[in-house]
């Protein structure tokens, strides 16, 4: 009932094109920004900040994957491989050339984008399941190359230690420092994506997804735009990989194996394909929900199970409940959490009437 469009009139094109056209959204966004910037890091214990950090990094990666899968309709099971490309590019630049993060981070993204374009080439000819297999192959090929090229992987252990990022001589190393670091990039990624999908390029992506032939006929060079989608998506993945690298303090390809690709696909599908909010919600869901479930089981499970066996129970319960919730949410709303939210909002928009 607070969510009202009535009374908001747009008199200029600029108003019509604003990211948040409604005053209520603008206000809640401001409140939220204050919350995440000024309140959360001050009030919460470092432990919770570490979860936020993982979520923020995941948001960057999930947004990238959603641009490709959700907005352009090109499936990819090789997202984690692009992260590792970004991670190793940044790690090598940081260690061998001693470059700071504000150079290695975009460099990692660009390198991933470059590889992404190459991997995206088959998308001109193949679609759907076939493209999935092609990207799966590229995941394995990239893994193999990193694993077997000491010049990239830094030796047999295929791990390169990287110093913490520094800003003006200040080393970002506590979870709180890293919170601002990851939050910054998550916010940039969110705003950039929201603008991207409303731009000419974004509309071309959606046109390709909805009707690829019709898209071609209105003058969209499909091949070029598919490659742009792969490039942008991989750029996000690369940046995500670099963020992981600085967050872990090490680049290791074992942190970017195929399971990670699957995890990110799960994020965008559960959150909602073709939705910025969906990417954010999906990242939160997949990263934080297992933690919440485990804490709940640990806290209340003692009444049901033998406390000594609780750690074993918590592990399996987490899997069962997490899997069950994924199925539950997808059955309730196949289009994901973002759609679920939109439905709720629309309900309250006309409240107390039904429509």
């Amino acid at each position: 009932m607070f969510y009202r469009e009535a009374g908001t009139f747009k008199t200029t094109y600029a108003e019509d094109m604003a990211l948040f056209p409604l005053p209520i959204t603008r206000w809640s966004m401001r409140v939220l920004l204050v919350l995440v910037i000024a309140v959360v890091p001050v009030v919460l214990h470092e432990y919770y900040l570490s979860i936020f950090n993982l979520i923020f990094i995941a948001i960057v990666g999930a947004l990238g994957l959603n641009i490709l899968v959700g907005y352009t309709g090109q499936i990819s099971i090789g997202h984690a491989a692009f992260m590792s490309v970004g991670a190793y590019t940044a790690a090598n630049l940081a260690v061998k050339l001693g470059l700071p993060f504000w150079i290695t981070l975009p460099a990692g993204g660009l390198m991933a984008a470059f590889i992404g374009v190459i991997v995206g080439m088959p998308s001109l000819r193949i679609k759907g399941t076939y493209l999935a297999i092609a990207t799966l192959a590229s995941q394995l090929i990239i893994e193999w190359i990193i694993n077997h090229t000491p010049a990239i992987s830094g030796g047999a252990a295929a791990a390169i230690e990287v110093a913490r990022p520094t800003i003006a001589g200040y080393e970002l190393k506590s979870q709180k420092d890293l919170y601002y670091f990851t939050l910054f990039f998550a916010l940039v990624a969110i705003v950039a994506t929201m603008n991207l999908v409303r731009s000419r390029i974004g509309r071309a992506f959606i046109a390709i997804r909805d009707q690829d032939i019709a898209a071609e006929i209105i003058g969209i060079n499909i091949f070029r735009y598919k490659l742009i989608a792969f490039a942008i998506s991989s750029f996000y993945a690369g940046v995500c990989g670099v963020l992981y690298t600085y967050y872990f303090g090490i680049a290791t390809y074992e942190a970017f194996q195929i399971v990670v690709s699957i995890d990110y696909l799960a994020m965008v599908i559960i959150g909602g394909l073709g939705s910025v909010l969906g990417s954010v919600l999906g990242a939160i869901f997949v990263t934080a929900l297992p933690v919440v479930i485990r804490i709940l089981v640990e806290t209340f499970g003692g009444y049901i199970w033998d406390p000594a066996a609780l750690s074993a129970v918590a592990a399996s319960m987490r899997l069962i409940i997490f899997g069950g919730l994924i199925i539950f949410f997808l059955v309730v709303e196949p289009e994901g959490l973002a759609r679920l939210w939109r439905n709720t909002r629309n309900y309250f928009r006309v409240w107390p009437f039904s429509y």
């Binding site: 959606i206 209105i218 060079n221």
Partner: protein, 280 residues
């Protein structure tokens, strides 16, 4: 082309916008679909292409727009020229940039975009914001129904509205030639009339040239200036709409009217058609 040495009703002064010259199209390298098709689209006129299912009408349009390539088709012979510039063998987006817009049969709107966004997307090759806004206003002036629904998702529109939207979207690239494929498909007669009325207005007011593919021959010949009839991958008849309307074969097969002016039963038409072919 034995039948129709052009005694066109169209004034000879009309400029040829689009010339298709004796093209042959092969699918998958083996299936010959068009066996030498030639036709002209005159500037500022509606040209219609009639024919039964599978005659090769849609393939002709796809050959012009270049979309054939993505369907594994190939132009093996002949040429297509827009105002004298050869365009065959080009990628669809290039053809669009040169000034040809195609409206597919089956109303392919971008379901998840709003009507207005569909139009903006249609102006992909236009980069000037002011020009895009003018284009939108122009489309809205012809299709007030779309204006009413400008912020609705295109997927929620009715069939007729979707058809209007895709025509409007095609106009957004400011084309010289519009290829219209079966705009009447699955629509109520009243809507069909409304849409054709708008098309006719568009042609005269916006100086468009239209190549119209239709099953509804009656309707097509009412709005068109000139017409071609296709069968089995060939053009078998050509003439002004006037001439075609009065052609006895056309009356038999496409309009379902016999010599006496009375409607013939479908059964008889079929029988007759089996017996007589235009081409050996």
């Amino acid at each position: 082309m034995q039948d129709a040495p052009a005694q066109s009703a169209v004034a000879p002064s009309a400029v040829t916008m689009l010339a298709v010259n004796n093209i042959e199209v092969v699918y998958d390298n083996v299936v010959l679909v068009l066996k030498g098709v030639s036709l002209d689209v005159k500037a500022g006129r509606i040209t219609t292409l009639l024919g039964a299912n599978g005659a090769g009408k849609s393939t002709t349009l796809k050959a012009i727009s270049g979309i054939l390539f993505t369907e594994r088709g190939n132009i093996t012979k002949g040429s297509i020229a827009l105002e004298g510039t050869p365009i065959h063998g080009r990628r669809p987006f290039e053809v669009t940039k040169l000034g040809i817009a195609q409206v597919f049969e089956g109303r392919r709107v971008f379901e998840s975009l709003s009507c207005e966004e569909n139009l903006v997307a249609g102006a992909h090759i236009v980069r000037d914001m002011g020009e895009i806004r003018d284009g939108i206003e122009r489309v809205f002036s012809y299709f007030p129904r779309i204006k009413e629904r400008r912020n609705q998702l295109a997927g929620y529109l009715s069939g007729g509205e979707q058809q209007m939207l895709v025509i409007g979207r095609a106009l957004m690239s400011s084309p010289k030639v519009v290829l219209l494929d079966e705009p009447s498909l699955g629509l109520a007669p009243m809507l069909v009339e409304e849409i054709f009325g708008i098309v006719k207005r568009l042609v005269s007011e916006q100086n468009l040239s239209v190549l119209l593919v239709e099953q509804n021959a009656n309707m097509a010949l009412t709005v068109a200036d000139h017409g071609y009839v296709m069968e089995n991958g060939r053009i078998v008849l050509e003439g002004s709409a006037e001439q075609l309307r009065s052609n006895s074969d056309i009356r038999e097969f496409y309009l379902g009217i016999n010599e006496g002016g009375a409607k013939k039963s479908y059964r008889d038409v079929k029988h007759y058609k089996r017996r007589k072919r235009w081409l050996s």
